[in-house]
């Protein structure tokens, strides 16, 4: 099981799912009506490191974070 966390303004509790790569995560979240609208503008981190490929492998216990558009300062 990997844990999916939604950061900042995405008003959603974290959830757990089976996934071996980010392809699986993308596929499962595309069915989630609460999250779907955020996917096009979110960056993705695996265990707190930003990643840029859907082929990124996942193992049990990994944390996947979705980071919506930012505005610090």
């Amino acid at each position: 099981m990997v844990r999916i966390e939604f950061l900042g303004p995405i008003a959603k509790e974290s959830l757990e799912m089976e996934a071996t790569t980010l392809h699986d995560v993308a596929h499962k979240l595309s069915d989630d009506s609460e999250v779907k609208e955020w996917l096009s503008t979110c960056a993705v981190a695996v265990n707190d490191t930003l990643v840029s490929s859907l082929d990124t492998p996942l193992k049990s216990g990994d944390k996947v974070s979705l980071l919506p558009p930012v505005c610090g300062g």
Binding site: G8, P9, V25, A26, C42, V44, D48, L67, P69, G73
Partner: protein
């Protein structure tokens, strides 16, 4: 030096403390940037969420980049509510010579705005409203979007 504070920053304290800490370390130039909440759009203030693990990594990478140029970066940011005419952000660079500091502060502040995992909300009538239109997707966003 990354400082996270609840609510508004004490800017005089921060600018002075950093100056006193570094003044004898032979940095000829000390550049600082202070961000203060403006009165606009009828807001009472702003509110901030941040994600500390990635913010720390981002900042550590900047410390390394500064160190390679003989410089030091520092940053303070607010968490939670910061009212109009209070300050939420201080960034600083110390370097031996001025060009490095002038260029680093610019690059640091711009990268901060584009990348640091911090989310801003307007405070209106006591309600927190995500500042979506002023927010920027982090580079590489949209990875999980499935195109059908």
């Amino acid at each position: 030096m990354l400082e996270l504070h609840e609510n508004a920053l004490n800017v005089p304290d921060i600018l002075s403390r950093w100056y006193q800490k570094e003044r004898s370390n032979n940095y000829g130039a000390y550049l600082s940037f202070v961000g203060t909440v403006r009165h606009e759009n009828g807001i009472e203030g702003l509110s901030f969420d941040l994600y500390e693990p990635i913010l720390k990594r981002w900042f550590e990478a900047w410390q390394q980049r500064a160190k390679a140029e003989g410089a030091v970066v520092k940053m303070a940011h607010s968490m939670g509510d910061v009212m109009v005419h209070e300050s939420s952000y201080v960034a600083a660079v110390f370097s031996p010579k001025r060009r490095v500091a002038l260029e680093l502060i610019d690059a640091f502040v711009e990268d901060f705005k584009a990348t640091a995992p911090i989310w801003k909300y307007d405070l209106k009538d006591g309600v927190r409203i995500y500042a979506k239109d002023r927010s920027a997707p982090i580079a590489g966003s949209g990875l999980l979007e499935t195109r059908q």
